[in-house]
């Protein structure tokens, strides 16, 4: 499988400047591409476009040559850097977690998710606890590509290495492709198969 962005340009409104200009980017199954570089170069915007959350002003995103599916489960999933903004504050955690698939107990245990947390509201969890839910939620067996935008800055280094080890095992097992945005170079070097600097995009 191949996820590609072809000649993407993006601006928020007609009057605002171009954030991305004629960017092309490819990631194949089994590949884990790290994107590093200063903020303001549209890394997160590109991530959102790849995941279909934002429409490019021009250019197109294709999954195996076809546009991303509009209906049903999207095989391209994204995890954000701000878990508190990516969950519904009016849903208890159990609903958020099981929205797309139902992870079993052993999976939850592996992710370090306590059963008792399922009954809580998002505001009753720490940043890192909430992020574990967001990561678990995105790992449905139907996910073929995972876009990760600074997903572990909310986690302590031990949890961070546990979660990355799970993500890497899952990715290798399912031959999943990943796009990884991080400001931690040491981390990028550990988890990516290839690193691109934003200026090279």
């Amino acid at each position: 499988m191949l996820l590609e962005a072809n000649n993407i340009s993006f601006r928020y409104t007609e009057k605002s400047p171009l954030i991305l200009e004629d960017v092309s980017f490819k990631v194949s199954e089994g590949e884990r591409i790290g994107i590093v570089g200063p903020s303001g170069y549209g890394k997160s915007t590109l991530a959102k476009i790849l995941a279909g959350y934002e429409k490019p002003t021009s250019g197109e995103v294709k999954l195996d040559g076809a546009p991303l599916p509009m209906k049903g489960y999207c095989p391209v999933q994204m995890i954000y850097q701000h878990p508190e903004l990516s969950v519904n504050p009016r849903w208890k955690m159990v609903k958020t977690l099981n929205e797309c698939w139902e992870p079993d107990d052993s999976f939850l245990e592996k992710m370090g998710i306590e059963k008792a947390w399922l009954k809580r509201w998002p505001s009753e969890l720490s940043g890192g606890e909430l992020q574990r839910f967001c990561i678990a939620r995105s790992l449905s067996p139907e996910t073929k590509f995972l876009i990760c935008d600074e997903i572990s800055t909310m986690l302590d280094v031990i949890t961070q290495s546990q979660i990355w080890n799970i993500l890497l095992d899952t990715a290798k097992e399912r031959n999943m492709g990943m796009v990884i945005i991080t400001h931690n170079l040491a981390l990028a070097e550990r988890v990516c198969t290839k690193i691109v600097k934003v200026k090279e995009l």
Binding site: A116, T153, V157, I158, N165, H183
Partner: protein, 306 residues
Amino acid sequence: MNENILKIEDLVVAFSMYKSGSFKKENLEVIHSLSLDVNAGEIVAVVGSSGSGKSILASAVLGLLPKNAVTKGSITYKGEPITKERQKDLFGKEIAFIPQSVDYLDPLMKVGKQVKGVFGTDERRKELFEKYRLDESAAGKYPFQLSGGMARRVLITGAVMGNPDLIIADEPTPGLDLEMAKETLDHLRSFADSGAAVLLITHDIDLALNVADRVAVFYAGTIVEVAPTADFLAGKDALRHPYSKAFIDALPQNDFKPIPGTQPYAGNLPKGCLFSDRCPYKDSACDADQPEREIRSGKVRCVHAS
């Protein structure tokens, strides 16, 4: 300079919650007799397990705990307890807070106005925007129009508007690129150098080590170790607690090898040492409560530490 600005003694924070599957309430204790002080001119970095109570500690100092929280112990600022009335006088002026969540920004108010706040001036706001490399046009935007990194910098400028004596920064670096993250911590350093006390809560430990004077390591609602930054830089042999050592091993630039298991749930803590269910060195001496001990100009909660 060794003037105590913030002193936390034997702090306990619990949440009153419904027990699962019942209508009875239980008190879930998330911070257990925790003590920490921050002196003028000093940055104390708070690192440690996610969910260990770092943000709750910040909320307790700032009087921002939710209604179902119960607290014990004492928190003093410049030698006086922080009362409800004093909170109003101090917060936003002498005491600044940089929150972890960008949710903290008012979505309906333009950024410039928020940063200026009730007590600030336009000149100072402009000066800070320049210092934190925020374009002047950002002042006229609403929070949703900002990138993650910009929102982070807006929170920071808002916090330091009033030239505070105590800064509590809860994860100021996520969303910033490396350059900007370093710069932000350097700014905190210069606040400390001009006499402020800074409590820096962060997971970016390698960056924090560049600026902090001491490091406090949190685990399961307690501080397992306080060490001079130099010990962290020297590596795991210089550290005192098995959890701190495990921390060093898990860094991507080191082994990237996590110890197994997770931090115990607040409703189901092991007896004695809170790290005992994951510790490779556990023996019967660890079943007793672990008081804080002074070792090599640091503190540790572990009988076997040396």
